[in-house]
């Protein structure tokens, strides 16, 4: 049921993921024990979510000591959705999301090392240090980015679905957004086009109830489930804190959309255990400490699965501790890897602005970029090496 697992770059298996789906014949764990999941699969999902949680905690720690800069939005509390919605997908399926993107990226196949190095702004980051926390990318695993403008990724996800349909492929696209994004015009325009062209896109709202500090209900005239009806797109609600429900839902829905069911709209109910970003306290003027605390106590997707497994005698405390130890090691390793990774080479400042450096004319007008050699000299200069720092001229063209 689970897709083939990934090795981390360090060779350390991410929790129990390395055993999931294998040894089906001789392992007693191949018997479905809860809702069609085998013991191994359940352990793998728990370990997966633990990776997300420990990764984000590590990021939080690194942010506090200044290793990570800028905006940083943690996904803590919403792990059930990342695991449940993305792990059932094929590797060549496409995922696109907004800026709270760390765990979705890891779920789709970006290693914790590459993700953490990107948060650190280092050369080994999945975006080479050019994107940062909000802009993780790895096209080779179908992760089409973290995007920073609320709702801006929704037309892009629609276009990914368009391209799939245009080519007659059988991939699907899962397009995530926060609940606030459904009030953007981009959402409405995208759903209309997805419907008229019957695109293979699942639009998933990570409904954590708040757009930054504004409750969805305060700024929305209708309920979330009503938002796709105007376009004839089926709406579904799933409990994102229940990873098993979420996983089963998406495993089924992905195949239905792959089979031609057309676009779908999923209201995935979840809750953010941390502030909107690092500068926002966990609770504050817009939600009470009690509200947050009750969700943390009762709606933690990791605790819910853990308790269920323990109650069914499918997980011992010792196993859990061993799993968590491995996961912590993976995230610790990711941070060490990120810390050791160099900053991007200053000479690459102008690389990848354009995929094609045209043979003629000047693309950069600051007198510093490739082809910017000024006749008689131009004031300025700087990291790129001053006037005429062609740095290999059209060498910026790395498009293949």
């Amino acid at each position: 049921m689970l897709q083939a697992t990934r090795e981390t770059e360090s060779g350390v298996a991410n929790g129990d993921r390395s055993s999931a789906g294998g040894d089906a014949d001789d392992a007693p764990g191949d018997v479905a024990v809860i809702e069609g999941f085998t013991r191994e699969e359940l352990h793998a999902l728990l370990a997966e979510m633990l990776v997300y949680r420990r990764f984000e905690e590590k990021a939080e720690e690194s942010y506090a000591i200044g290793r990570i800069g800028g905006f940083c939005h943690l996904h803590i509390g919403q792990e059930g959705l990342a695991a449940g919605a993305i792990r059932p997908l094929r590797e060549d399926d496409l995922v696109i999301t907004a800026y709270r993107d760390h765990t979705q990226a890891i779920a789709k196949g970006i290693t914790p090392r590459a993700a953490m190095a990107e948060l650190y702004g280092r050369v080994d980051g999945c975006s080479g240090g050019r994107g940062g926390s909000m802009h993780l990318f790895d096209a080779t695993v179908g992760f089409m980015g973290g995007h920073g403008i609320v709702g801006g990724q929704i037309p892009l996800g629609t276009g990914l679905g368009w391209a799939i349909r245009y080519r007659g492929d059988d991939q699907i696209c899962v397009c995530f957004m926060g609940d606030a994004a459904v009030n953007q015009g981009a959402f409405l325009e995208s759903l209309n086009m997805a419907a008229i062209w019957h695109l293979p896109v699942i639009y998933v709202v990570e409904n954590n109830e708040y757009g930054m500090g504004t409750a969805f209900s305060r700024v929305s005239a209708t309920e979330m489930e009503a938002r796709s009806g105007a376009y004839g797109i089926p709406a579904h609600t799933v409990n994102g804190q229940d990873v098993l429900e979420t996983y089963r839902f998406f495993a089924d829905m992905a195949e239905r959309v792959r089979g031609g069911a057309g676009p779908q709209f999923v209201n995935a109910e979840t809750y953010r255990f941390r502030g909107h970003s690092m500068s926002d306290p966990v609770s504050g003027t817009y939600r009470s400490k009690e509200e947050v605390e009750s969700h943390v106590q009762e709606q933690d997707p990791i605790k819910l699965l853990r308790d269920r497994l323990m109650a069914a005698d499918l997980l011992t405390q010792a196993e859990l501790e061993a799993m968590d130890g491995e996961v912590r090691a993976v995230c610790e390793d990711a941070a060490e890897f990120a810390d050791a990774s160099p900053l991007p080479d200053p000479s690459t400042l102008y690389d990848h602005v354009y995929a094609e450096i045209n043979e003629h004319g000047r693309l950069f007008l600051d007198g510093r970029g490739p082809g910017g050699a000024a006749r008689g000299g131009t004031p300025g200069g700087g990291p790129a090496g001053g006037p005429g720092a062609a740095a290999g001229g059209p060498g910026g063209s790395a498009h293949g």
Binding site: L94, I96, G125, S127, G128, G129, R130, G131, H135, F137, D138, A139, T140, M144, G145, H147, G148, I149, G152, I154, P155, L156, G157, T158, G159, L160, G161, W162, A163, I164, Y166, G185, A186, L188, E189, S190, N192, M193, I196, H352, V353, Y354, A355, E356, N358, E359, H360, G361, R362, L363, F364, L365, G367, G371, A374, R375, G376, T378, A398, H399
Partner: protein, 323 residues
């Protein structure tokens, strides 16, 4: 070589590229069944079918973003804006997504897309439909911009834009669609970044782009009556910018005027003037002048509109001031 209208030359470029590459498709308002608001895509629906020639809803943000997304997946969309005035609704997709994706992804995800349509004023369309949009696009690194002035340039530049691996805005002139000119029949492209000296004079350089090339040529004819011979340099491509051609003409005439349809503040001409004073200061015998639209929204009334638009007379005056 056939004589074609500018409109049909654009059509020929799209057909040329769609014939050679199945990943090229055209999307926009009225492009299919209506044959295009300005009939640029006439006959293309019949020729390529509704898989590749697609009528969009009136959702500029949505369909431009869809096209950007499709480009990130490896297709080569031609995204037609009925006019670039309407593309302001889509600027988030152009500036934040198309222009930045390749950089943010460290060169993993390119965006080979063309945004095309008319820019600038036509006749009495008033403020919201009469503006030159070049600056908004060319301001952002990651975007390229070409502005064909003739049918032959229209075919060659649009074809090159479609083949380019980056987002390229192709800004056309609504009043140019009926202009006729010789266009080579065979497959060709005009590389981006190559300006064209449309007239060789030697006394003063009128540097311009797009529809204003025709105004510049008119001004040059007027100046010639008084024995003043002007170079008319058509940039054709704003980004990449043919700096060598600009410096060459200035070195030859020592005097330059930039003519553009847009407003002066932070306009294309502002960039060109900065460039000339930075890199050819010693060649100049006079300050570089600009002729632009009046710094007001376009008025409707015929007389006011005439006053607001840059015209040949203004260009002649500017040339006289630098001579």
């Amino acid at each position: 070589m056939a004589e074609l209208t500018y409109r049909d030359a654009l059509n020929a470029a799209m057909c040329q590229e769609m014939d050679r590459d199945d990943s090229v498709f055209l999307m926009g308002e009225e492009v299919a069944e209506y044959d295009g608001a300005y009939k640029v895509s006439r006959g293309m629906l019949a020729r390529y079918g509704d898989r590749r020639v697609v009528d969009s809803p009136i959702s500029e943000l949505g369909f431009a973003g869809l096209c950007v997304g499709a480009a990130t997946a490896g297709l080569r969309p031609i995204c037609e804006f009925m006019t670039f005035n309407f593309s302001f609704l889509a600027l988030d997709q152009v500036i934040n997504n198309a222009a930045k994706m390749f950089y943010m992804s460290n060169g993993q995800i390119s965006v080979p897309i063309v945004f095309r349509g008319p820019t600038g004023a036509a006749l009495q369309l008033s403020a919201q439909h009469s503006q030159a949009c070049e600056t908004y696009y060319v301001h952002a690194p990651g975007v390229k911009l070409v502005t064909p002035a003739t049918p032959a340039d229209a075919k060659g530049l649009l074809a090159a834009a479609i083949r380019d691996d980056d987002p390229v805005a192709v800004m056309e002139g609504e009043l140019l669609y009926n202009v006729r000119g010789e266009v080579p029949d065979e497959e060709y492209v005009i590389p981006l970044g190559v300006a064209d000296l449309k007239r060789s004079g030697g006394d003063v350089s009128i540097i311009t782009h797009g529809k204003m090339v025709h105004v510049a040529l008119q001004a040059a004819t007027m100046l010639a009556r008084d024995g003043i011979e002007a170079d008319v340099l058509d940039l054709r491509s704003i980004r990449p910018l043919d700096v060598d051609a600009i410096l060459e003409t200035v070195a030859r005439t020592n005097r330059a005027v930039y003519l553009e349809e847009g407003w002066p503040f932070a306009g294309v001409g502002a960039q060109i003037v900065a460039l000339i004073q930075e890199e050819a200061f010693d060649d100049l015998d006079a300050p570089v002048m600009r002729v632009t639209q009046a710094d007001v929204p376009m008025p409707y009334a015929k007389n006011l509109e005439q006053l607001a638009k840059p015209g040949a007379r203004g260009v002649v005056e500017a040339c006289r001031r630098v001579l």
